[in-house]
Amino acid sequence: MSRLPALVSLLVVAGVLAVLPFLLSAYNVSLVAQVGIFFIGVLGLNILTGYTGQISIGHGAFMAIGGYTTAVLSRDHNTNLVVTMLAAFALCFVFGVLVGLPALRFSGVYLALVTFALAVSVPQLPLKWSKFLGGRDGVQTSRTVSHVWLYGVAWAASAILFVLAWLILRGRVGRAFRAVRDSEIAAVASGVELPVYKTLAFGISAAYAGVAGSLFVLATNGFAAPDEFSIVLSLQLLVGAAVAGLGSLWGILAGAAFVGLLPSVSTSVPVIGSDHGRDVVFGAAVILVMLLLPGGFAGLLARIRRLARA
């Protein structure tokens, strides 16, 4: 693929995002900020699932760790919120690597099981250590942020992390990731150190989820509580990654927008009514995407491009 169109789309996205806050109401700005948050999460999961072929149904767990990092640091030390995001990135990288280590031993459905169990286990920990982590009544940051702050920081972080991902994936590391995905045995045969790259992929994607979690808590008025990180959050990330497909900025944007906007859009679903539309639409959409658009949104774009060329 030639470089130019990619660069153009990047510029278009950046331009639109920069202008949007002037056009939208404060509330809609907060919605687009939500999309930015899921952009980071989906991007991170895409590195693991899409590029390295390791499934994770548990990235909500890392969002929880990132979110609590921000909440606790802010509560106890009044730490600058952007600094807490960096801390969340670092801490989740470490946790990601730790989870990646045992994950070396299993793949496929086993990995799905383990990460699922991880996702339901982590939110139990604040209940156990409730003095430090607030129990069910949560942890409140010492300061809260405006929609515009959230928008700016979420999309600035998205941009930085997107470039970072691009730098990682285009080079040697990216080639190794793809080799692991396509065939572990072949990868080892061609000299890829499997343990290193698998754990690295876990670490990176967990770190991304951590930043997303940090922003997620800030979007909840700086309030972190166990119920926010239910299994459904992890499922949403996976859904976002599936909708996104592989290797396309537009795809990830679509996936993030799908996950970030659906809850607010679906409150006005006809027939089902305002109260339960969300999950019905969510579930049905995922299944339809998987059945009709195997490559996700990215695959759809590629197909259109091919059609246009033909």
Partner: protein, 336 residues
């Protein structure tokens, strides 16, 4: 989604157990049973907890069995298995509202569940099965969310409960109170396991299903309708899930759309403990997890009830690291 490296199908064995470790496992299980027995004789509290744990373990076991059947048939872990089971409890509730007794509703629901499973396999799973296991897993994840949404939409909220299936009688055995409900739960689950076993071992259908699962190409050559067998496998699994749900709901006394979510995690742990391929292993695994959780929360001060789910997570990790084939599974041949 990209294609994940697909795990190799296990080699065909006439016996479902890893012969090498089988005696060790049996000895361990006998030792565990002896421990429970001695403990129960010495302490009424211990006995009480064991009985309750077994009843709950039966529920985990039957959901684990459903997972195993799906896995054997299609190499997919059905993450929606718990939610499907939950949905069937609401179907049963609706039937009871329409005037059926619990047991009429029970069997009618099993029938509905079978059809539901069949249809799901044909409509949702089959189209993605050839693609990758990640694709199939994501479809079941979508199904998880969809079923949850639909149940909440149709029946959610407010207060609902099923009538007690076994009445409220209590047996007293040497100071230990055993609800007939618990006995009934264990019996129902054991009966369904035996039926599954009989089906697989002694019927032509069962033989066909085993062949379709283990060696699809060869099975097709000898005239087995592989597609049909896989769909039936899903139907049966959904029935077993329904059994789990219909036993779990009355044992928790109220209907709740989140009923099966923790149970699913314990069932995962149970299925992996049993070997993910072994129906008997799934049930034994379920009983072990049920009893262990009930005892450990009581007797190990560090593990409070908040840590039950993390405990199940730990079981998963430890089993997979130490003995990935579980107590009763094949040893999977996989070299990297």
């Amino acid at each position: 989604m990209a294609t994940a490296e697909s795990s190799p199908r296990p080699t065909f064995r006439s016996r479902g157990t890893d012969v090498g470790s089988f005696p060790v496992v049996v000895v361990l299980l006998v030792a565990a049973a002896a421990f429970l027995l001695v403990g129960s004789l010495r302490s009424v509290t211990f006995a009480q907890l064991t009985v309750q744990g077994l009843a709950l373990g039966a529920v985990y076991g039957s959901l684990a069995l459903a997972l195993v059947l799906v896995y054997r048939a299609t190499r997919v872990i059905n993450f929606a298995q718990g939610e499907l089971a939950m949905a069937t409890t609401y179907i049963a509730w609706q039937l009871v509202q329409w005037g059926l007794s619990y047991w009429e509703a029970f069997f009618a629901t099993l029938g509905i569940a079978f059809v539901l499973g069949l249809v799901l396999e044909i409509v949702l799973i089959r189209p993605v099965l050839h693609r990758s296991e990640i694709a199939a897993v994501i479809v079941t994840v979508g199904l998880f969310i969809l079923v949850d949404g639909v149940v909440n939409w149709l029946w959610g909220g407010g207060f609902k409960s099923l009538p007690p299936p076994f009445g409220t009688k209590i047996y007293h055995v040497g100071g230990v109170a055993i609800a007939r409900l618990y006995v009934g739960m264990i019996v129902v689950v054991l009966v369904s396991v035996v039926l599954v076993w009989v089906l697989f071992r002694f019927t032509k259908l069962g033989l066909g299903m085993r062949a379709a699962a283990i060696r699809p190409a060869e099975a097709a050559l000898v005239g087995v309708r592989v597609d049909r067998m896989l769909a039936i496998g899903w139907g049966l699994a959904t029935v077993l899930g329904a059994v789990a749900g219909l036993m779990a709901a009355p044992s928790q006394y109220i209907l709740d759309p989140t009923l099966m979510q923790p149970i699913l995690v314990y069932a995962f742990a149970a299925a992996v403990l049993g070997g993910l391929e072994s129906p008997a292993g799934a049930v034994v695994g379920g009983l072990i997890i049920g009893v262990t959780l009930n005892l450990i929360v009581q007797y190990v001060p560090a593990i409070t009830s908040e840590l039950q789910l993390p405990f199940a997570f730990a079981v998963l990790i430890v089993v997979l690291l130490i003995k990935p084939s579980g107590l009763f599974g094949h040893r999977e041949v996989r070299r990297v």
